[in-house]
């Protein structure tokens, strides 16, 4: 609370000199007050509250196919002339838009969770050493995926025009989701007497980070190669969770990833519908992505760690664990081909590396 002594100390600084008092203060012109592109807008909250999407009324809902303004002018505001352009490269709606972006943003905000307090960390209990090591290794790799996601998404975000703020805002939530994913899995690795393991191979990660051609192509790799696989893996980890701590983390992360996948798939769908010539580059990106993913899968660390988790230990890893691992890959392929069918992308099982083909797959030791 401020005291009388404090007030004394402040007062001299506020005392104006005689010259200062004589400065003429111009009459306010208020000429900015009639400069509105549309006045009288009154959006009413609906059943879901006052959502971002519901603000798209009148001219504020006009989302043009191209946004040439390379400033930070919010959509619907009156821009000033002479502003130096900022580094906005993605100015066409077709290159970033997904009609569901505003809804996904609201969903991400409303369905947030906090690993520190929403996970009952006291429910953790000691696990056999081999299982704990395997879980920690998988946590390490998922942390790494999350770091890549943050770096990748943020490196594109600032290049996107402000006319498409719904997408920019949603992508901001995916960055937060990824940092939370990193946080949660790092905590799981360190909470039960284990720690972080090996850094995984980075072929897919490198492909994503070095993708400079376009956001649509980057999204293709981020969702259909890395994201979809991660989601299937985490769903399998949920199935084989050893305690409530892991189950809670996996369940929440599944939802977070589902939003990113929805944006990605709906963006690709929108892009292909409005620029069919993008199909070639999307398919090429997928083909390169599968090759990189195939190389990553040749590294035994993730495969063995997952097999140990699924098999209940080293003893069960070779038979039951590996069987579930390949079942998981089959589930990924099924989801992938389902998504490609939805997107009308001509991708068939035979085009995938043999590790993804159930009938042609060579198992280790064969």
């Amino acid at each position: 609370m401020a005291t009388a002594k404090d007030a004394d100390r402040v007062r001299p600084a506020l005392t104006l000199s005689k010259e200062e008092l004589e400065v003429e203060v111009p009459e306010p012109r208020l000429n900015w007050m009639n400069q509105w592109r549309e006045w009288g807008v009154r959006v009413k909250p609906g059943k879901k509250g006052l959502t971002l999407g519901s603000l798209n009324v009148g001219l504020y809902g006009e989302i043009p196919m191209n946004w040439p303004d390379r400033s930070r002018n919010p959509r619907g505001a009156i821009g000033v002339t002479g502003t130096p352009p900022v580094a906005i490269q993605i100015k066409d709606k077709v290159d970033l838009w997904a009609p569901c972006a505003a809804d996904l943003y609201e969903e991400a905000i409303q369905r947030r969770w906090a690993p520190a307090t929403d996970v009952d960390w006291t429910a953790i209990h000691p696990l056999p050493d081999d299982v704990e090591r395997a879980i920690c290794q998988v946590c390490t790799e998922i942390c790494q995926y999350a770091i890549i996601d943050v770096e990748l998404i943020t490196s594109w975000q600032h290049q996107m025009a402000y006319g498409y703020h719904e997408v920019k805002q949603f992508l901001a939530t995916t960055s937060l989701d990824a940092t939370r994913r990193h946080e949660a899995f790092r905590k799981r690795a360190l909470v039960n007497g284990g720690g972080l393991g090996y850094e995984g191979p980075c072929q897919v990660s490198r492909l994503l980070l070095e993708s400079r051609g376009g956001w649509t192509e980057t999204v293709t790799g981020l969702t259909l190669v890395r994201g979809l696989f991660t989601q299937v893996m985490i769903r399998y980890l949920t199935r084989f969770a050893y305690n409530g701590v892991e189950r809670k983390i996996y369940e929440c992360v599944t939802q977070d990833l589902a939003r990113l996948l929805t944006y990605g798939i709906e963006h690709i769908k929108y892009a292909l519908a409005h620029a069919p010539d993008k199909q070639g580059s999307v398919i090429t990106t997928l083909a390169i992505g599968f090759r990189m993913f195939n190389r990553d899968l040749r590294d035994p660390v993730l495969r063995e760690a997952l097999a140990i988790i699924f098999g209940g230990g080293i003893a069960g890893a070779r038979s039951e664990g590996m069987h579930v691992f390949y079942e998981m890959l089959d589930e990924y392929v099924e989801e992938l081909l389902g998504a490609c069918q939805y997107l009308r992308l001509p991708v068939a099982m035979e085009q995938l590396p043999t590790v993804f083909q159930k009938d042609k797959r060579q198992l280790p030791g064969e």
Binding site: K47, K48, G49, C100, E106, E107, Q110, R111, R112, W113, A114, D118, Q231, R235, Y236, T238, R239, R247, K248, E251, C252, T254, Q255, A258, R259, L261, T262, I265, E266, E331, G338, A339, Y342
Partner: protein, 143 residues
Amino acid sequence: MAKFPSVAWFDAVRDVYNKDDAMHGAGSGTCNCVVGVQVGRELFQLTFEGFECSQAEKITRTKLDDCDFYLHMTTKDWRNMLDNIQEHGHATDNFTLNTLDLGRVEGLSSSTHNDQYREDLFFRYNQTLQFFFDGSSRVKTTY
């Protein structure tokens, strides 16, 4: 006491779900979707709006198109799931919605429209749906 499956049973579970704040936070929250539930040959529709499940009704097969996705199992499999929830207070091991979807050859969640955006709501709202069915642990159920 409510008999499964019936609108009365789903209403009893709705009541638990709608009144328990713990089921509306920590990764759950608002949920907006229409879920079909197929129990053997009987079909029901659950409407989730914001923080509540606002309606449960019995439907015919043609109304499945209105559902974003529907959960389908035999009466016996539903009963096994509900028994597990009754026993533990929530679904465990092989009886969570996620595991049932992965573990069953025919899956758990399907749609009649093949619109992936609507189908994927099953994953986006998975925690909410699990909380909803876990709420049945507080409903005395007969079959």
